[in-house]
Structures are given as structure tokens and as C-alpha cells.
């Protein structure tokens, strides 16, 4: 158990004496401090008994120190060193001004640790003043916003250009595309039939391989290891609060004030000491509606609001990179605004990290939807996600193939994240890219059987927008990681390379190719023309028919299997209507491909909060908060 410092003990007494805390709160605070191993300020603020300003003002009075409001009395910027920002944030202590030849250090961490840190860093000739916790963050944000913003955008591209999507196509890739195109045109011009047969053969082999590969993935992923998950859940329950590390939760948002209550409610329900959560709501500067909504909900006292200065590209990874500078946790997780993680998720992840080998740098949790039954699209989306997260990703893990991370609920070791220069702000599926990059850099991604429930898209247009971004991002990821095929092969192995190319590349390519083959098939079915016979010699014809009937049948079957793990049997029949879903996928793939050339870094925003389920969730969250 943690031990109560003398400073905190005195401060607690003072707060009770001056009516800031009741005796019951005092007792609870002391218990929680010991249980969580956190300071009094963390406990008091996490319980929202006092605002940070009031607490630190009172504490300053208690110790006879000066309280400064950094918003009205900002620090001397020349004293702040950018490389030390992480230290400032961790210690909540930083240089403020030089007065009468003495360095004045400002701290929001009242205790001997901050004094020791200050003396070690700036010598013994110092004075100390007190400020509120979030004033430190806001001051640092203000001073370093331009630098951090620049680094958020360019750090990866500068340090590791081969891994950045800032360059969409390399010269070599363009040359290969041009050579392939030229060869194809020559073939079609001078030997059209053999060329079409060759093209047809290649695509048939691709389809066949794709079906087989996905079948193998589901087979491997379906071999559920109950024992492993039970053991992990047990370990998570046995973890003591005081042994838990500080956990940073990043919630990037953009103009989504309506779903904020869901997030607040879900985070409060997490089975994790609130005092050990470093929750950062990452907003774009100027997103006043969300900032105002956060203020109305009284979230400022618990959640830090990070305002990302405007710059291009305006993407989620850039915002996360920016916020990462201010993260204080040992681990970090990203949630979307409307996410509802299972309460024990963070504990399970901590347990998983502790039992796994040191090279596991990221844990991906499963994603699924809370509004699956809303309409046809949400049902299909749920089937799709169930197949992806419940069967295919475990298959990738089992086969040792790089795992493209899902959009949220990926938990990182923060040190590794910083070492890898975090997310690629130019990649619109930065999560998938990071998963592959991690594997290339010698780290592994693990999976944990804990689900985060999200809002599935309820409208076709919104869905296509979102999926076109994913498709574009998969293309970017493939382009980035196949720039150096030999390097890729060396770092992830032949199976990993094949798996990665098949999994992401196959998803995109089949989306692009399907409409062409559907059109050919429909034309043939309607006209019964013999014109295609020439490019379908018997062997190829039978392979194509195998792909068409058995392959697609198998896909439908796999989709039907997907919801069984969650016992959502009622969704299984909808797998039979997957054809229209594939049509939507193809529309999204072509839109993504077009945007890859015309607007490669444009972030197609997914509108959240459209579901009636979400509206119900919001009102329920607001009621709970009121209680």
C-alpha cells in the first residue's frame, strides 16, 4: 500500500479545517491515497471535490507559499527547454521566472519529490511557487505549440522518411506502375487475347489466394484459447490499485460535442483508479462547441483539454502526436469520442503487458458496435467487424503476421511509441500503418479479449466516407511498406510479407477489381455472349467459377460464423445479403483510390452521434452524471 506523506497529511488537515473537505471526504481521501498510491491532489481532483485552482491555492496558503496563475502571469519562455517538456509534465514542475538573481520554480506537485527534482535540475539557489495542475499543461502548450505542432507533423518524416506517407509515391513506384502500364498497353495492342488471358490468370490466382488466405486466417483465429483469456482476466482482477501505472487516455475529437457525455460516462466506469488516469481530450483549436460542451459537463477538472493548433494535414494522428508530448502515463490508449470500453480493459491490458515478452509494444483490443440491430448497414458492419477483430486478427497473431491496428482501443507502451516517432500524420489509417511499422522495428502487437463498443455508421453516405478513408489509408500503408520489399521481407519474414500484402493489399485490390468482374459476369449472364470464351480457356473458366461460387460462398459462410462467438446468432442470416455490402466496399475503394491521387492527406470525417442508440446512450450518461 502507498504511504501518506507528511505534506499531504498536513494539507488534508488544512482542507478540513477550512471547510474545503468534509470529514467523510477526508477519510475517503486518505483511503484512496493509500489504495491508489497517488497524491492528495490527484484524489481530490479525481473525485471533483475541489477544482485544481482552489486546491492548489489552498495548498499554497497551507505552506505559506505564493500561488501564481500562469494564465495571467505566464512563465519566461526563454527559461523553458523543449527537450525537457516531458520532465516538466511528469513532475508538474518547471522554471517560471528569474527574480533577484534566483530562479523561481513553479510546481503543481506539492511534495519533497518536486523539491528534489527542482534542486537537482536548477540547483539549490531557487525559490518555489505553486500553481494549478492544468496551468502547467496550458502554459507549456502555449509556449511550445508551434514547435510541437511542427514536430507532430514532420518528426517521423524527417527522422525516418522511408516510413512516412508524406511522399505518396516514390519515383521507383511510379516507374514500376508506368512500366506495368506500358507493358499492358503493348500487350493489348499487339496480342490482346494472350494478354487478357494472362491478366485474367493473374487475377484468378489472386482471388483464389485471397479466399484461401482468409479461410486459413479464420481457421487459425477461431481456435480460441479460453484458458489464456481466463487466466488474463484473473490476473487483471488480482492487480492491486497501488501497483497500477499511470495510464494516458487520448480522446481525439473534432466537432463531436453531442457524444461527449458517453465518453465521460464510459471513462468514469473504467475499473481503474481515476487518480492514475491521465485523460486528455484532444481538440482542434477553434472547436469551441466541443470545448464549451466539455466545460458544461464539468470535465475540465478531471480531463485535460489539449488544443491542437491549426496546421496541415488536419488529421487525427497529427492531433495525437501533438498530445503525446504532454502524456504522463507509462501506457497510452486511444479511444474515440463515442467509445464504450469494457470496464476492466485497462487492467487486462496492464496484466497482458506484464505477462508478455518485452518486445510486445502494443495491445489491440477488440472493437464492435453497440447499435448493431439498428438497420441493415449496422448489422453488416457488425458482421464485418466481428470477422475482422474476432477471427482474422487473432489469426494474424497466431500466424505471426503483422497486425494492422484498429482505429481505437490500441494500447501502447509510451516509451516505444515515442521511440518510433508515434503516428504518421500523413497516413489516414495511421493505426494500421503503426502496427506494421512496429513489427518492422522488431516489436510485436498482441491481442486481448476485451471489447470496446462503438457507434456503427447508420447512413450509407457516411459509411462510404469512412470506408473510403480506410481504403485510401490501406493503399498508403501498402505503398509505404513495399517501398523496400527486401527490407520488409527481412524484417517481418516471407510469411509476414505475404500476409501483410494479402491482408491489406488484398482488401483494397478485391474492392477495386470486383466491379469489373461483376460487370463482365452480368454482361455475359444477360447476353449469353460467347465473346468472353476466348479469354476464358477451360482451366481458367473452372478456376473463375470456383472463385465465384466456392470463394464467395466461403466468404458468406465466414461472415455467418463471425457473430457466433458473441452469440449474436440473429445477425447470421444477414450475411446472405453481403453482396450489396461488397458493392458499397467497391464504391469506397474507388473513391479512396481517386483521393489517393487527388487529396492523399484529406481526412474524410466520420460523423458520429447519428444513431438513435447513441442518443439513448447520451441521455443515459447525462442522467448518471446528474445522479
Amino acid at each position: 500500500m502507498g504511504c501518506l506523506t507528511i505534506g499531504d497529511s498536513w494539507t488534508a488537515d488544512f482542507l478540513v479545517e477550512n471547510g474545503f473537505l468534509s470529514l467523510a471526504q477526508f477519510d475517503e481521501a486518505l483511503d484512496l491515497m493509500e489504495q491508489w498510491d497517488r497524491s492528495l491532489s490527484d484524489v481530490v481532483m479525481s473525485r471533483r471535490w475541489m477544482t485544481p485552482q482552489d486546491f492548489h491555492r489552498a495548498a499554497a496558503r497551507r505552506f505559506g507559499m505564493t500561488f501564481v496563475n500562469l494564465q495571467t502571469d505566464p512563465p519566461n519562455e526563454t527559461l523553458l527547454i523543449e527537450a525537457e517538456v516531458e520532465d516538466y509534465m511528469r513532475e508538474l514542475t518547471m522554471p517560471w521566472r528569474v527574480q533577484d538573481g534566483r530562479m523561481v520554480v513553479v510546481t503543481a506537485h506539492l511534495g519533497p519529490e518536486s523539491v528534489l527534482y527542482a534542486r537537482r535540475r536548477w540547483g539549490s539557489n531557487i525559490d518555489m511557487v505553486v500553481t494549478a495542475k492544468f496551468d502547467v499543461l496550458w502554459s507549456l502548450q502555449k509556449v511550445f505549440s508551434a514547435r510541437h505542432s511542427h514536430r507532430a507533423v514532420h518528426e517521423l518524416a524527417d527522422a525516418d522518411p522511408e516510413m512516412s506517407a508524406r511522399t505518396v509515391f516514390t519515383r521507383a513506384q511510379l516507374l514500376v506502375v508506368w512500366a506495368g502500364l506500358t507493358l499492358l498497353c503493348l500487350g493489348l495492342g499487339f496480342a490482346p487475347t494472350p494478354t487478357l488471358i494472362v491478366v485474367n490468370t493473374i487475377t484468378s490466382v489472386f482471388y483464389l489466394g485471397n479466399f484461401v488466405f482468409r479461410g486459413v486466417l479464420v481457421w487459425a483465429g477461431g481456435r480460441r484459447s479460453h484458458d489464456r483469456h481466463r487466466a488474463l482476466a484473473m490476473e487483471a482482477r488480482l492487480l492491486r490499485d497501488e501497483d497500477l501505472p499511470v495510464y494516458t487516455v487520448l480522446v481525439p475529437m473534432f466537432r463531436e460535442p453531442e457524444v461527449l457525455p458517453i465518453l465521460a460516462g464510459a471513462l468514469r466506469k473504467l475499473d481503474y483508479p481515476l487518480g492514475k488516469l491521465d485523460i486528455k481530450i484532444v481538440l482542434e483549436e477553434g472547436d469551441d462547441e466541443t470545448i464549451d460542451a466539455a466545460k458544461r459537463l464539468g470535465l475540465e477538472g478531471i480531463f485535460e483539454i489539449v488544443r491542437v493548433p491549426p496546421s496541415q494535414p488536419q488529421t487525427k494522428p497529427k492531433a495525437c502526436n501533438y498530445a503525446l508530448r504532454f502524456a504522463r502515463g507509462e501506457y497510452l490508449v486511444i479511444f474515440d469520442a463515442e467509445d464504450k470500453p469494457e470496464p476492466d480493459q485497462l487492467r487486462k491490458v496492464v496484466a497482458a503487458f506484464r505477462r508478455s515478452s518485452p518486445d510486445v509494444a502494443c495491445i489491440q483490443c477488440r472493437l464492435n458496435y453497440f447499435n448493431a440491430s439498428e438497420n441493415w448497414l449496422t448489422r453488416m458492419f457488425t458482421l464485418d467487424y466481428s470477422l475482422w477483430f474476432d477471427l482474422m486478427l487473432p489469426g494474424l497473431e497466431r500466424l505471426g503476421i503483422p497486425i494492422p491496428l484498429g482505429g481505437t482501443s490500441n494500447h501502447f507502451k509510451i516509451e516505444v511509441l515515442r521511440e518510433l516517432h508515434a503516428w504518421d500524420p500523413f497516413n489516414v489509417t495511421e493505426d494500421a500503418d503503426l502496427g506494421i511499422r512496429m513489427t518492422q522495428k522488431g516489436y510485436r502487437v498482441g491481442l486481448v479479449d476485451s471489447t470496446t463498443y462503438e457507434e456503427a455508421n447508420v447512413s450509407h453516405a457516411n459509411w462510404v466516407r469512412q470506408r473510403s478513408r480506410w481504403m485510401k489509408g490501406y493503399m498508403q500503408t501498402c505503398l509505404v511498406h513495399t517501398r523496400r520489399p527486401l527490407h520488409l521481407m527481412k524484417t517481418v519474414g516471407p510469411l509476414g510479407t505475404l500476409g501483410f500484402v494479402s491482408f491489406l493489399g488484398g482488401t483494397v485490390l478485391s474492392g477495386l477489381l470486383n466491379p469489373i468482374f461483376w460487370a463482365v459476369f452480368l454482361f455475359w449472364a444477360v447476353t449469353q455472349t460467347g465473346g468472353f470464351d476466348i479469354v476464358f480457356p477451360p482451366m481458367l473458366l473452372y478456376t473463375s467459377m470456383l472463385n465465384l461460387l466456392i470463394g464467395n460462398g466461403m466468404f458468406i459462410y465466414l461472415m455467418m460464423l463471425a457473430p457466433f462467438r458473441r452469440r449474436w446468432v440473429q445477425l447470421a442470416p444477414y450475411a446472405l445479403t453481403v453482396m450489396w455490402y461488397w458493392v458499397l466496399l467497391s464504391i469506397a475503394a474507388w473513391k479512396g483510390a481517386w483521393q489517393l491521387v487527388t487529396r492523399p492527406f484529406y481526412w474524410e470525417k466520420t460523423q458520429h452521434g447519428l444513431s438513435k442508440f447513441t442518443a439513448a446512450e447520451v441521455s443515459s450518461a447525462l442522467e448518471e452524471q446528474a445522479v
Binding site: 511522399t167 511510379l174 493489348l188 455475359w524 470464351d533
Partner: protein, 335 residues
């Protein structure tokens, strides 16, 4: 693409495992003459009732129906006394006189008992034919029903009248001569106006060559032979007889849509639609008989334009690539 024909071929190729030839008995052999079909109709399906003595276990007879050697229907007699075999008929299986065979066989038949089972099977009644409206696409065989409605013979003054009689005998021996609204036969050295023949004789010397370039019939020989071709304009097929030097003994227009005849009879017949790749007419240099050269030129120009546009697009993307840098330009605040 999958077709009924492929299915039929597959079915025909896959005889039951272990079947022995000695137990196979053809129990009905009929000839369907397409010239006897009702006017303007085509054969669409065949049905036959089969009766036999049911066996036991695996010793049960199979019955099958084949058209021109290709099995189009097959079933197991099972424990019933009689079954009905019915199958759609693909027109491509048919010739002017098509052979329909109904056979019975017992798999793994090595005993007199099972041979007796096969022998016990018999066809009840005739092989029934179903008809459908005739289609526009036509071979000699398919045109027969159209000509049954009547036949108009247009014959040039310089042509031996025996040709007309030959054609009528070959296609519609029982049709009324010179009936209006029936099929049209054009006998002339010149091709009918408004039609383009598969083998053209108005473009200079023409030969028949194989895909590998081997000449099957040289120009001077082809010029001496009688060539019969089906010409089409929409739904109006015409048979054009280009007379040769001698009148052939007979015109055997059994299959295909091009027939070539010498004095002693048919030399060859083939379908221009399906065999054009393996056997096609070749003209002198510079002749573009079917417009294929023109199509090819247009196709290549389109490809060139597409390739050029794509290359320009790729060039633009190439120009937009950033310079290869290891660090971005220092921002203003770093100065």
C-alpha cells in the same frame, strides 16, 4: 463462361465409376431431321419415358439420352419401374439429321442377372420433341425450319438451274417452291446486295488459311469450288450459293454456316462464328474485308491515347514529389 454445353460435355464425360461397356445397351436410336420441324421453330427439349425392371442395391440400371453422342440427360432407374428423361437441347449439338440415342447400363455389371436388368429396360412411346421459336442466329441446320415455311429462289441468268434444285433438296425438300415470305436462297457469282458474306469474292483472290498460317484452300482452287454461305442482316438470313465450275453431285448442308463443295460433293463445312479463329479467309495485302484491320487500328490509337494520358498523369505526380530531404526546412521560430 459456364454454358449448358459445358455442363452437357461434363456430364457426358463423367460416366459412372466402374461402368462396363458390356452392360450398356442402346435401347432406342432415332434420327431427328430438322427439316421436318414445324415452320419457324427450333428444337428446345427432348423427353422420353423409360420402363424397366428395378434391381436391388447397387445393381440398378442407369438410363441416358444422348444427342449426336453427347449425353444430355441421365438418371437412375432406382426402385421404380419407369422414369421420364427430359433435357433441354443446346442448338449447337444439333446437325440437320441429329442422332438421338437412349441407352441403359448397369455399373460394375459382371453377372447375367445385371445384364438382364439392362436388357429389360425399354422406351415407352416415341421420343417427344418440344419446340420454341426459331432464333436469329443460324446455321444450315437451324435454318431448315425457317425454309420449311417456303423458299424463294433467286437465281442469276448465268447460273445452272440445277443449283436451285440442289439447294431445295438439301434444305427443304417438302417446302413449296417460290413461296413468298419463306427463306431466301440466292444463287449467283455476285454476292446479294446489302449483305456482307463471311468469305468475300469481290476483293480479289481469297484463300482459306488455318490459324498457324497454313493455307487449306488456295485462291485458284477456291475460285473453282462451289461455296455456300449463310448471310445475315438482323433477323433475315440468306443462303448465298456461289456456283463453282461444276455442279456438285449433292449439297450436303448438314452443319456449320459455310459449306465448300467440289464436283463430287462436300469438301468441308464449318461455322464461321465459332471456327473463324482456326480457319479464316485470307485476302491479298491491304484488303480489310471485315473491318477488323480498321477496328484494330482504332483500338491501338485508343490505347496509345490512354497510355499517353496515364503517362502524363504519372509525370505530373512525379513532378509533385517532394525533394528527398532528411530534415524539413527550419521553421521561422527556430531561426
Amino acid at each position: 463462361m459456364w454454358t449448358a454445353l459445358h455442363l452437357a460435355l461434363l456430364a457426358g464425360a463423367a460416366t459412372p465409376s466402374g461402368a462396363t461397356e458390356s452392360a450398356r445397351i442402346v435401347i432406342r436410336r432415332d434420327v431427328i431431321d430438322l427439316r421436318d420441324l414445324p415452320a419457324r421453330s427450333r428444337l428446345s427439349a427432348l423427353t422420353v419415358d423409360v420402363h424397366g425392371r428395378a434391381g436391388s442395391g447397387v445393381r440398378q440400371p442407369w438410363v441416358s439420352m444422348a444427342v449426336n453422342g453427347v449425353v444430355i440427360a441421365r438418371t437412375w432407374l432406382g426402385r421404380q419401374d419407369s422414369v421420364t428423361l427430359r433435357a433441354d437441347v443446346d442448338e449447337r449439338l444439333l446437325s440437320m439429321r441429329s442422332l438421338v440415342e437412349v441407352a441403359a447400363y448397369v455399373p460394375q455389371c459382371e453377372t447375367p442377372y445385371c445384364r438382364a436388368l439392362a436388357a429389360s429396360v425399354r422406351v415407352v412411346g416415341p421420343v417427344r420433341q418440344d419446340y420454341d421459336a426459331a432464333r436469329a442466329d443460324a446455321t444450315f441446320a437451324h435454318l431448315a425450319s425457317r425454309y420449311r415455311a417456303g423458299l424463294t429462289l433467286l437465281q442469276g441468268p448465268d447460273v445452272d438451274p440445277a443449283f436451285g434444285k440442289l439447294v431445295r433438296n438439301a434444305l427443304a425438300p417438302r417446302a413449296r417452291p417460290l413461296a413468298e415470305g419463306g427463306g431466301l436462297v440466292y444463287v449467283s457469282r455476285q454476292q446479294p446486295p446489302d449483305f456482307i458474306a463471311p468469305i468475300r469474292f469481290d476483293l480479289g483472290p481469297v484463300s482459306l488459311v488455318r490459324q498457324d498460317g497454313v493455307t487449306v484452300i488456295p485462291p485458284d482452287m477456291l475460285d473453282r469450288l462451289t461455296v455456300v454461305q449463310v448471310l445475315r442482316t438482323g433477323d433475315h438470313p440468306v443462303i448465298w450459293v456461289r456456283p463453282g465450275r461444276d455442279v456438285p453431285r449433292e449439297l450436303d448442308l448438314d452443319s456449320g454456316d459455310i459449306g465448300i463443295f467440289g464436283p463430287s460433293g462436300r469438301l468441308m463445312a464449318f461455322s464461321y462464328a465459332s471456327d473463324a479463329r482456326t480457319l479464316h479467309p485470307a485476302y491479298g495485302p491491304g484488303v480489310d474485308a471485315d473491318g477488323s484491320q480498321r477496328t484494330k487500328r482504332i483500338w491501338r490509337w485508343l490505347l496509345l491515347i490512354g497510355w499517353a494520358a496515364a503517362s502524363v498523369g504519372l509525370g505530373l505526380v512525379y513532378r509533385r514529389l517532394p525533394r528527398r530531404v532528411t530534415a524539413t526546412e527550419a521553421p521561422a521560430w527556430a531561426a
